[in-house]
Each structure stands twice: as structure tokens, then as C-alpha cells.
Symmetry: D2
Subunit: 130 residues, 4 copies
């Protein structure tokens, strides 16, 4: 490991598909889980103070399958911090191994939940993200 | 068929699990889809006029698996209409067959979305459900 | 707590719906997660030695909503151990509270994965379940 | 419309989240549904003859939310047909509108299901994809 924040949990049976591996849509859900755990770790409370973080882009590259019963481990880092958005970078590993099974990126935009308009990331939150 | 309202759609790949069949949690989602289609068919608009229909109970019996690519067909009927709740009854079939693959029940309570308290089903809606 | 096995995890954002609470279909997924954690805790390896545990029935009563960010805690107990099936009983609580938000039951049948036919629960597994 | 293949269905309640819109993970599931419908339309049978199509990459740009009760319409086109893989391009619209709510791409690799190794797309299937 490289000092990055890491979120992990066991892969559940309901996350598999008939190919016998986890369905690719779960990688996007795990990115969200990892993003949220990262924000909580930085002291950023989600969906409070009228601020939300909808995604404008999410992508993933799948190299090796992840299986039922694997401990999926997802590292999170801030790849780019812009005025109104954050680009996160993710790496997926399983169990004790350092091999990368997938990588992903996600861009979340800071919005005023009342209007759903993009706003500048408040200074207090920006400080916690840096 | 027996004159009951029926909702149907193809089973998707993401609804399967590594046992090669559809995951049992999807039957509850299909009951919701069938319930909502039934209500729309009766002219009842969901999540409008401040009324919601959370479930207080849902159960299902699984007799035969439903598979990827099957057309799942779900019949809906009102098993019991009480002052503040509706009990629905569901039967699951696939493709052209009349064989029952699963049955289910669901009790939905009429609530005021502002307070989330159970309220009497408004007369206009009750009339459409009978 | 009462000595029962308990599984827990944080409720994720993707498990919520537009009513602002967790969607009822997740309770069935959490029952599966809790069942599987319980079996692992007893030393029972899932989907090995050619044995699977499909459900023939699952039901739940919903009393109070469970929300984004709650730690959902699910207790598992064997309510009935029959020759070929297990009936599990579940209680759902959140965070530090002892209040029950939901209860559920699930009947899982022991099957030979090669034939998907119900078989007697092998003595070794039965011993671990008692 | 532009002659592209289009898949559509109503957005379901269980696909929403507490922000009141459909959760972004569903766009990847809808891309899969649209891809599979496209392949069936071309006469390509999925998960038969020992061939599967796992994804190696999937990405999406989200421009406008899609809501409960919307008819989501997804166009599919083959953006690139390589020796062992297909890159699909998707556009998401809702109801009668021509406005694009999201775009996506997905790269699916042709594999031998027995070995999960990439293979050349068989000539018969290639002909149907062109």
C-alpha cells in the first residue's frame, strides 16, 4: 500500500452474475462507497448543509474478475481538485494481493441541493479535500 | 390467463447470480414494478398529491427458478383492501407457460408523504382500487 | 444483545430511493449477507462441496425506515432445522439502538448443485448449524 | 431518431436514490440491457455456443438527470469493431424529447467461456455486427 485511503468489504452473493463473477455495475457502486468513506474520513458530512455531489462522469477498466467471497479493496485519491468539482481515482484489489483488478475514475460536482446547480466548493470542504 | 392485470419484461443479465438463475431479491423488485404498473393502469399517479405507499410486509414463495432471457410475467390482484392499506397478491410465470414459478404478497400502506403517517386511502383512489 | 450472531454494515447511498430511505428490496439482500456471514462463522463454506442453499421462501415486516449512513445490524438465528432445510429468523436494528426496525424469515433448502435437487443436510453441516 | 437501434423501458422506483433521481449505476445496467437487445436484434444469441462478452471498459457522461417514471431510451451503435472486441456507443434520452441526458461507451471482448480467454470474433457473428 501507498498511504492512500482504502475502503473494503466482502463481495456478496447478490453482486455476482451467471458468468460466476461480480457484475461490472458493482464497481461503480463500490467507487461510490469508497468515495463516501473517504469523505467521512476527511470529516466531510454527506448530504448536509444543502450540498450534494452528483457525478458527471464515471469510467472503469476491468482487468481481472472479482469473485464471490473476495475482500474487495478500493483505494481512493483526489486526482484533480477544481473550483466546482473533484476527480477521484480508484484502484481495485482483492484479499492480500497487490495486483490491480480494475481501475476507475469519477468526477463529482459540488451542487446546491436546493437548485441542483453547480457551486464553488466551499473553502472549508476544499481544505479537507486537499 | 384469468383477467388479472399482468406486467412483464425480459429478465436482464444483471439480475442473475452465480447459481445461474435470477437472484431472489429481484422478485421483490418485480412485485414493485407490477404494483406500480397496476396502479398506473387504474389511473393512480404515484408519489403525487402528497401520498406514498411504503410496504409494511412483503413475502414470496419460490417454486421454480427464473432465468436470464425469460420473459417474466407477474399478475397482480388486490387480495384485501383495508381502510389504510392494500394487500396485493402476485403470481410469477415465464414465457408462454401457465406454470407458476413463484407467488408473492405485499402490503402497502397509504401515507401522507409530509409526515410519513398512515392515512385513510382517499375515496377517489379507493374507488379506482376496487 | 442476546448472544445471537450479528452482521452489520453501513447503509450505502445506492441503497436509498426517492422516498429518502433504504429501498425494501435491500432487506432481503441484507438477510442473505447475514445468513452467509452466519454460515462462515459456523465454519460452513458456501458453494463448495457441491452444495447450495437456494431460498424457497423469504418474508419481512417493515416497522421503521432505515436510512443512509445508518449502521444496519442484523441478528441471525436458526428458527427451525429440518431434514433438508433451514428456517432463519432475522431482526434489523440500527446504530446503538435496541429498537427493532424490521424482522424477517427465510427458508433455505440444501441442494445438490449438480442436479439442483433438495438433499438431506449432510451430518457435518447439520452439526455446525445446531 | 437517426436509424440507430433503440432500447427503452420505464424507469422503476427501485432505480431511484434519495437525491430523487435515478442512481448513476443504473446507466451501466441500461447500457448492458441495450447492448443485449441490440445483439438479439442482430440475431446473436448470448451465452450460447460457448461465447461470452465481458466488458473491459465502460464509461458514461451524465448531463441531465433521469427520473422515476421517465421512459429511458438508449440508442446503441457499434463505434469500433476490432478483431476480438466491440466498442459500443450509447446515447440516453427520455420520453418524447431528443435532448441527450447522458452518453456512454462500453468495450466488450469476445471470450471463450470455457477458458475466459479473448478469442477472435467468429466470422458469423462479425458479419451480424457490421
Amino acid at each position: 500500500m501507498n498511504g492512500l485511503f482504502e475502503w473494503s468489504r466482502l463481495v456478496e452473493f447478490y453482486e455476482t452474475d451467471l458468468a460466476g463473477i461480480t457484475h461490472f455495475s458493482n464497481f461503480y457502486r463500490w467507487m461510490e462507497s469508497a468515495e463516501h468513506a473517504f469523505l467521512r474520513d476527511r470529516g466531510i458530512v454527506l448530504h448536509q448543509e444543502g450540498i450534494g455531489w452528483p457525478r458527471v462522469n464515471a469510467s472503469a477498466d476491468f482487468r481481472k474478475p472479482i469473485k464471490f467471497g473476495d475482500l474487495v479493496r478500493v483505494t481512493v485519491s483526489v486526482a484533480e481538485l477544481k473550483t466546482r468539482s473533484v476527480r477521484y481515482s480508484f484502484e481495485f484489489r482483492v484479499n492480500e494481493s497487490d495486483e490491480i483488478h480494475a481501475t476507475g475514475e469519477m468526477i463529482s460536482v459540488c451542487v446546491d441541493l436546493a437548485t441542483m446547480k453547480a457551486i464553488e466548493i466551499p473553502a472549508g470542504i476544499r481544505g479537507l479535500l486537499e
